[in-house]
Structure formats: structure tokens, C-alpha cells
């Protein structure tokens, strides 16, 4: 295992520690963006789609490149360009109340539509509207369709309102795949669908999924060798993005697993941007997405205090694998349906509460922290009730902070820091109370 000090272009004076796996991922992402931006020259066709309900294996069957607008918005958040894009979108009529991923994307389009490599994103040939777990997705791709005037495919994933997947839901989704999604992808790409090719990709997905779960579950160890939220966001990148079903993903997750296992064997905690984390003092479960515009500052508030996130719901937004689901090559279309149905934001609130409660117990966490995102109702609506329920069921303290995905106007460092400090004190008091009682 190696940890390399690299120098970022944004902060030339500050060295950032990165695992070797992070460097590998960075290379994979760079290659992907190069493939995307060179599509006009190579003739490759592009499908835009979403992280929850991302059908990467199917997209690859048609030799389409997968472009994920949410990931682009995240990139812009991390690079601190999203703020101006959001403002640009608001200037042209988009409400200040709605999702900032959408506004970042639309603002980026009107300001040159540049990828992280500085080259222009190609226009999508098809918008695969995988309508899974988020209402905004539907309007987002209607907005993009208006702009790009390209073919748009709706794949509607029913919501698991009653906490179960029914035969009717699966049949509906498989029919959409057979009669709407696949024929349109065939037409757009000019490539005939080969179900055996899909099976091969799905087999590969399963291998990477196994390793991802082992990585995420390594945080049950004490100290946790990973941070399953801030670090976890890097770990889910390839599998939630354009790499699920590829050899690259298999290699990356095997490499990552070995790296994490080695850390665990050596009794090490997570790697942070400032190097190895010090002594683990608090073990948290986090619900909700992070803030990306001040990502490192946000993370630092945790690791400076010895707080490690041992499990998070956000790392399940592109697929929930830790309760046993794996893509099944023997039922290729049904398994894609089950995957979409099972993503975190498509689960009912009671299911989400059960998951968080389970995490607190299984990972022996000190409590639940909710980062409530202003512009994400799919996550945020109901979180205050979730907080109370989890507290009631686990007896562990919970806390609530607020920020936004990629809108820097809603990141108030002082407020968040104050609340975190209070929360850590609350955990200490709870521990002291428990010790006194024992």
C-alpha cells in the first residue's frame, strides 16, 4: 500500500494525501472524460443518465458512453465553479428554490459546457431518463431535452411505498426495458441488443459489488479503516458512475479492498486529505448527501475531532448492495429492474429508518448525524422524523445540520462547526452517563 502526497492545481501550497486507489480512480475518471470529450472525433455516441437507476451495463451493450449530469455537477462543486453556474441558471429564470444540481448543469451548458479536462462535453445522443427515487430527474431531462432536442427515453421505476418489490413493479419495468428502452437504444446506436453481452457485463458487476461491500463493511472494525461518507464518496465513484460492469471496476475494487484490508490489519484509521486520521473518538452514521463546494473543509471538521463516519446512506444512492442484492446475470432484465427499485432514495421512509437503525447497531456507532440538503427533497423531506425514530430505537443521540449540494451560498461553516461541537459533547455526556450507570 502506498500513500502519495500530490499537489492539486487549486491549492498549490497545500499537499493532499491520496491513497493509491484514489490515484487509480483519478486516472480512470480522466480517461473517461477524455473518451467523452473526444466523442465528436471518435464518432462515439453518448447517453446521459442518472446515478440512481444507472443502467451502465445496458448502455455499454450499445457502445454508448455514459455521461452523468449529477457527477458533472459534483465535479463543478468540488472545483468551486458550481456557484456561478447556479447563479447563471437563476438569471435565466430557474427558481432559487429548486435542485442545484439541475441549475449547475444548466448554468454550465450556458457557459460553455466544459468537462473537467477543459474540453467541451459532447451533446448527448440520447437522454436515458431513469426515473428512480427522485422527482426532479423527470423535469431535469425534460429541460435538457428542450435544449438538446434529442431522443429521450423514460424508464419509470415505481416507488417502494409499501416497503416491498411486487411482481407488478418488476413486470412493468421489464416491459419498459423490452419495449421502450432497448428498441430506442438500438435505434440511436445502430447496434442490435445482445443479451449475452449484457450477461457478461452483469457478471463483472457482481465481482466489483462484492468487493465494494467488503470495503464498506470494513468500517465495522475498530478503528474503522475507512471513512464511509467522505472517503466513501470516492469509493462509490466508479461503480455508481460509468464503470459498473467493466474490468476497470473489478480491478479498482479489488485493489481498494486489498488496500483497506491492509489498513485494517495494521490497525490504521482512514486516510484523510491531511494524511492518516488520528485516534478514532466518535463513530457516526450519516444520512444525506454531503456539501461539495466546501467538501474538504466539511470533512476536516470531522477528522480534526476524531470523528469517523462508519456508515452512510448516501453511499447507497446508486445501489444498495450491503443487504445482499447483486446483479444477477441469469435474469438480466429483472435484475436491472430490482437494482433500480432498491436504490436508497426509492425506499420508503420506514425502510430508510430501518437501514439507519441497523447501521448504528451493526457498526456500533455513537449516533446519527443528518446533513439535510436544501435542494434535495427526495432525501430531506421527512428527515426530522427519521432522526427522532432512530434516536428512539437506538437510544443513541442524533443531530441535524443543513447545507446544500453544490450551492456555496448554503454552506455556513460556523453554524455547522457549532452544531458538530455540540453533538460531540452530547455523545461524551451520553457516554459519561452510561459509564456512571454501569
Amino acid at each position: 500500500m502506498t500513500t502519495t502526497k500530490i499537489v492539486t492545481s487549486r491549492a498549490p501550497a497545500k499537499q493532499v494525501a491520496k491513497d493509491a486507489s484514489m490515484l487509480k480512480q483519478k486516472a480512470m475518471m480522466a480517461a473517461h472524460y477524455d473518451r467523452l470529450t473526444s466523442a465528436p472525433e471518435t464518432g462515439a455516441k453518448v447517453a446521459a443518465t442518472f446515478v440512481p437507476g444507472n443502467l451502465n451495463e445496458l448502455i455499454m451493450c450499445f457502445d454508448l458512453l455514459n455521461n452523468l449530469p449529477e457527477v458533472n455537477a459534483i465535479q463543478n462543486g468540488l472545483r468551486r465553479t458550481s456557484g456561478s453556474f447556479v447563479l447563471e441558471a437563476e438569471k435565466i429564470g430557474h427558481s432559487e428554490d429548486v435542485c442545484t444540481y439541475v441549475k449547475s448543469d444548466i448554468g454550465m451548458m450556458s457557459k460553455g459546457n466544459l468537462a473537467p479536462n477543459g474540453k467541451k462535453f459532447p451533446n448527448p445522443d440520447v437522454l436515458l431518463l431513469s426515473y428512480t427515487g427522485c422527482f426532479t430527474f423527470m423535469k431535469w431531462f425534460e429541460l435538457l431535452r428542450e435544449q438538446y432536442q434529442c431522443e429521450t427515453i423514460m424508464l419509470h421505476t415505481p416507488y417502494m411505498g409499501d416497503g416491498k418489490i411486487t411482481r407488478n413493479m418488476i413486470d412493468y419495468m421489464v416491459k419498459q426495458l423490452k419495449e421502450e428502452v432497448i428498441p430506442t437504444l438500438e435505434r440511436v446506436s445502430g447496434i442490435k441488443f445482445d443479451i449475452d453481452r449484457l450477461r457478461e457485463y452483469l457478471k463483472k458487476s457482481t465481482q466489483a459489488e462484492d468487493d465494494l461491500v467488503r470495503v464498506l463493511q470494513s468500517a465495522k472494525a475498530k478503528p474503522a479503516p475507512i471513512d464511509a461518507y467522505f472517503g466513501g464518496i470516492y469509493y462509490i465513484g466508479p461503480i455508481f458512475g460509468a464503470f459498473r460492469g467493466t474490468q476497470d471496476a473489478i480491478d479498482y475494487y479489488r485493489f481498494l479492498r486489498e488496500e483497506v484490508e491492509e489498513r485494517q490489519a495494521n490497525g490504521l484509521g482512514p486516510v484523510t486529505p491531511d494524511g492518516d486520521m488520528g485516534k478514532e473518538k466518535y463513530r457516526l452514521v450519516v444520512e444525506g448527501p454531503p456539501n461539495y463546494t466546501n467538501f474538504r473543509q466539511f470533512w476536516k471538521m470531522f477528522y480534526d475531532e476524531g470523528a469517523v463516519v462508519v456508515a452512510s446512506s448516501y453511499t447507497k444512492v446508486g445501489g444498495v448492495y450491503d443487504f445482499g442484492f447483486r446483479h444477477d446475470p441469469d435474469k438480466p432484465l429483472e435484475t436491472l429492474a430490482e437494482y433500480c427499485l432498491g436504490v436508497y432514495t426509492n425506499r420508503s421512509l420506514p425502510m430508510r429508518i430501518d437501514m439507519l437503525t441497523n447501521y448504528i447497531k451493526e457498526y456500533d456507532a455513537d449516533g446519527l448525524l443528518i446533513n439535510s440538503i436544501k435542494s434535495c427533497n427526495s432525501f430531506s423531506a421527512g428527515q426530522l422524523l427519521m432522526m427522532r425514530e432512530v434516536e428512539k430505537r437506538t437510544g443513541k443521540p442524533a443531530a441535524f445540520i443543513e447545507s446544500d449540494l453544490v450551492d456555496p451560498r448554503y454552506f455556513s461553516a460556523a453554524n455547522i462547526k457549532n452544531r458538530l461541537d455540540s453533538y460531540f459533547q452530547m455523545i461524551e455526556q451520553k457516554r459519561a452517563g452510561a459509564s456512571a450507570a454501569a
Binding site: I92, G93, H94, S95, D97, V98, C99, V102, L129, Y131, C134, F135, T136, M138, K139, W140, E142, L143, R145, E146, Q149, T152, M154, H156, P158, Y159, G161, D162, N168, M169, D171, Y172, K175, Q176, E179, E180, S348, L349, P350, M351, R352, I353, S372, K374, S375, N377, S378, S380, A381, G382, Q383, L384, L385, E389, E402
Partner: protein
Amino acid sequence: MATSLNGSRTAPLIERAHALFEDLSFAAARQWKAAEPGRKVIGYMPIYVPREIIHAGGMLPLGIVGGGDQLEVIHGDAYYQSYICRIPRSTVELGLSGRLDFVDGMLFPSICDVIRNLSGMWKLMFPNVYSRYFDVPQNYRDTIGGNYYINELAELREDLGRIRGRPITDAELCRSIEVYNENRRLVRELYRLRAERPWQAPAAEVYLIVRAGLVLPVEEHSAMLREYIAAARADERPMRDNCRIVLTGAFCEQPPLNLIKSLELSGCYVVDDDLLLVTRWLTGDVCAEGDPLKNLSDAFLHHSESTAAKYEPSQKEKGQHLVRAVKRSAAEGVIFACPSFCDPALLERPMLQHVLKDAGIPYIAFKYAENSGQMQPIREQAGTFADSIKLWSGA
């Protein structure tokens, strides 16, 4: 037909409708339930549920559209962050304050993530009340979305049958379809009347009369509609020099009644709107013979309103429903009135505005909450809009 002291035939009806509107304890629905043992009430939220199925089970469908501007929200605010719209918090308030303690079930239609998540909250907060997220297809092919929807309807029918203690039959459902066809015809007639002679059927009155249908048995509501239409035609009221507008964006959280009144006071006749869409979601009669679930599905897929909660498969068709509404009602402009933090309405708004711009139809936009109290800015904005239409439109 009764008349008021000042001779207005509509006044007694409006008085009754207004009392129903203001009654947040739902006394009328409670009385209906208490009148016969075993009666059940099923609540539903915007935007659409097939009320026919509830009615066919001998139950009262009760529309819950938040708490309006008269409800003090105490508990509800503790469940929601400041950046979430008001309808879920006032609905939670209605529930926690016992105002819905007579309701035997709640349906949460597919409209947005907030109402979707509220369905799960309701299960946790009221575990003894039947609660269902009512999903609808976003695929409009009979063999795909249709099959899915028919099965969802069948599940709902089974659930409601269990609640009343015996299955709901096809014959019962066909009868209920007829009853609701009649109700929808009357609502459409009222909308036509208003579009033709808006001074005879002011928007606030039309709203109150239609809204009464959310709490009254449908038969009683149809009678009220008939009476109001006749009274509104008979009453002679002065025509004002108002412009004619379509109001859009208000399909979920309802604007305060004062807001609707303010629009007309500031010079805008509302000649069409998307308020309380459940009352006219299905745009024509539903076939009342044969398989009732298939008939309801056909109507949903092929003869239902366009709104932001639905996917529009055709870019060419996107927003055209609004252009058609403007033409149909001879409107001169559109007012976008959207609830604050309403994802469907606010995400949809720019696309609709582009379509209107291309069609040369003027528009303005503002936001509201169901408890907005200050109407002066809205009056000024709407008044200026009305003036600009009157002064500068091509007519």
C-alpha cells in the same frame, strides 16, 4: 332556489361552500360518517386519485389540501425544514391535532418527493390508519403503463374492500364511474360558464364551489354545482374591464382565497386554472360498461390533464396544453402562481414560459404559500400585468 337578503341567488351556496372551506375539523365529513354505522372515510392528497373506487366501497373520499391560512401550525413545523413547502407541515398538523382522527385511510398520490415521503411518515405517525402511496404510470402505453396501473388499481380496490369488510364489485364501480362522470361534466360546465362570462362566476366563488366537492359526498356536490350554475347564470352582475388570464402552477398547495380574490380585484378575470385538478383530471367521460379498472386506466392514460407531475413524452407537445387552455378560454395572458419550494411547479415553469413566449402569450410569475398574508405585492404585480395587457396587447 333560495336567495340572500340582497337578492343574490348564489350567495347562500357560497355561504355554505365557504363554511365548508373554513371548517378545519371537517364537520360535514364527520357527520356523514356518524350518520350510519360502519361508514368509512378515506383521505387523499393532491393531485389525483380515482375517487370512484373509494365511492364504490360506500366510503367518502375526503380531499386534504393542507390547512390554508387559518391553521396555526405548531407541531407540523417540527417535522420540516424551512425550505420545504407548507402543505405537508399543515397536513401533519391536521393529523397530529386530531382533526383527521375520524379518517380511516390516507392516499398519497405520486406528485413529488415531499408528498411521497409524507406517505411513509404517515405510516409511522398513524400506524393504525391505512396509508398508501398511490403510484401512477409515467408510461402511457396500454400494454405497459396500462397493465401496471390496472394492477395498482386492483390492489387499491382490494385494500379498500378489506377496510369495508367485503370486496368492491365491478357493478358498484361502474355505478360510481357514472356518478363521477356526472360530477366532472358539471365541473366542466362551470368552468365553461366562467370562461364565457367570468363576471357571472367569479374565480373565488368557482373555487369555493369546486372545493366543496373535496369534503361533500359527490351526489350532494353535484347538486350544489347544478344549483350554482343555474344561480350564476340567473344573477346579473356587472362586467368589469378586466383582462382574462389563465392561472397555473397551483395544483397542489392551494393559494389563500384572498389571493384568488386579489387577482380579480386587481383587474384579472381568471378564466381557467389548475386548482383542485382532481375534480377534472379525467377530461372526458369514463366508460361505465365493461371492465371498470381498464376503463379508469384508459381514461388516465389517454384522457387526463397535463401537469408538471406527469412526464410529457413528446417535446413538441410540451406545454401545449397551456397554449390550448389560453385559446380555449380566450385568455390574454398567463399567471404562474407557484407555491414556494414546489419542485414540480417551479421546475416546470421555465419550460412553460418558453412555450408561451414562442406562442406570443404574455405571462407573469410569483410564488405564494398557503398562509401568505400580504397580498399587496401580488395585487400590484397582477394589476400592472392587467394594465399592460389592456394598454399594449394587439387587440
